[in-house]
Amino acid sequence: MTEPDVLLRCEQLSVRRGRREVVREVSAELRAGEIVALLGPNGAGKSTLLDALAGALPVARGRVERHGRVAVALQSPDLARRTVLANVTLALAWWGVPRAERAGRAREALRAMGAEHLAERAAGALSGGERRRVHIARAIAVRSDVLLLDEPFAGLDAEVRASLLEDAVSALRSATRATLVVVHDRAEAWALADRLLILIDGRLVASGSPRELLEQPPTVEVARFLGFDGELDDGSELLLTRPAHVVLDPSGPLEARVTRVIPVEDGARLELQLDRGRVYAVAALPSPGLGQSVPLRVEGGARFPVAEARSPVASG
């Protein structure tokens, strides 16, 4: 029995590309009003899963239930050789929107994406970031029940991506639409999503809110993917840390030696060697120097039994 606000559901979904099974036994659902980020490393099967959910790829096993119309914005923001406004109205024509409504809806979507000033500009004259804005506007304009976006911020420099992300966060929010966004960058997922799906090697390995997953990653594999790059081993338990968990503190109970210093924008990223393992921290300038001993404390992190952490599956 389908719950009323579930707009898309897949059960035990497996998808092949040629002979290779790229997506394996994935079960998930998208509900009205939520934005879900599908996150995973390169080659994890994210785009393949999105294609199968859209119906663009056949399903090898399992099933997909769609309640309402599904729109997809592909990764490549290819636009027709006409004006920006004409591109969006063209998409509305494909979608079957009556001619009289197209221009108004197109302008509204462009406004939502901060691209209304580009309406009369030729698509060929747009920058990469502007093309992405129009591409997303085109997908929003059709007002689908389910919207699937494949890496909408790919290939942009940090500044343009941040600005686009800012506009997309509000533009994608809709009480009636379910949105799934494939992202490669964790920061994009944190900014956009109510819920994360983490796909590694074709399998859905975690699902939950960004906060939940960061506080309690379900497996070592997920923790490592979410940036838990530090590791302290006390014999029975492994403590995985992110740089935010490691605090340089003169009264800290632990002592570490700085083994690497990498300058970052607002300080330095330090690699710190302890007796029980290695952790990473971000220090303000002036940062401790290479070889220097520093006291520290660890606040938070994720604990796993050593046996689980050292198993071949966990280590990937």
Partner: protein, 240 residues
């Protein structure tokens, strides 16, 4: 060099005074080129679209065949059509041999590979994301075809230009099927061949000058249209 100069001095007055024989050849050449190119476009563009957009089994073989047909010798096309249209042949009852219609059929068949192969290549070169995006946003087949033709218009017009060039300049098939009958079914190209063969060099030079001028004018006109993407833009405005 002197011979060429002497023939040019005779040829220009023939053109200037509108020699009736020359005028009839110009008229028939334009008629053949227009009808053959239009017919080849009507038949060839849907085939080019199907080959360029199609995702069916065997499309690569068909694309290779379309490309190979660009090298089809006109004399071979003429010979095959002759064998099919001669009075004793399967289509002999149509009584087309040595008629103007036979010339138009031959030119259409010769222009067709250019329109099919070049338009298919132009459509294949479109950004794949655009066509996939159109499919995923619910574009009908007709909308997809209009999008592909419009986006590939520079290549599609190039295909039509190539087809028209063939229709204007072909000799062998026209001569075999039309018989190159004086004042009846001669095109500028076949008439040039006829006059050279008859040692009427001044007439040959006059016809050749007109042919070159016609090719230049038509090709330049289409070239301008190609660069502007005009005409087609008007036709496809309704897509939005």
């Amino acid at each position: 060099m002197r011979l060429i100069w002497d023939e040019l001095r005779v040829a220009f007055p023939l053109i200037w005074h509108g020699n009736p024989y020359l005028m009839s050849i110009i008229g028939f050449t334009l008629e053949v080129a227009a009808i053959a190119t239009a017919a080849a476009a009507v038949i060839g563009l849907p085939i080019g679209l199907a080959l360029g957009l199609g995702r069916f089994r065997g499309r690569n073989v068909l694309r290779a065949l379309a490309n190979a047909s660009l090298a089809l010798p006109p004399v071979l096309v003429g010979a095959i059509l002759f064998l099919l249209l001669t009075p004793q042949a399967p289509f002999g009852s149509l009584q087309l041999i040595w008629t103007r219609q036979a010339v138009i059929i031959a030119q259409t068949i010769l222009a067709l590979p250019f329109i099919v192969a070049l338009s298919a290549a132009a459509i294949q070169a479109l950004p794949p994301g655009l066509l996939s995006q159109a499919r995923l946003l619910g574009a009908s087949r007709w909308q997809l075809w209009r999008l592909a033709l419009r986006e590939a218009r520079i290549g599609v017009i190039a295909a039509v230009i190539a087809g028209l060039g063939t229709a204007l300049s072909e000799v062998a098939a026209v001569t075999i099927l039309g018989g190159n009958i004086y004042g009846h079914d001669q095109t500028l190209a076949s008439a040039t061949f006829f006059e050279v063969d008859a040692a009427h060099y001044a007439d040959a030079v006059a016809i050749a000058i007109v042919l070159i001028a016609m090719i230049l004018i038509l090709m330049c006109g289409l070239g301008v249209l190609q660069q502007q993407g005009g005409g087609i833009r008007m036709r496809f405005r309704s897509a939005t």
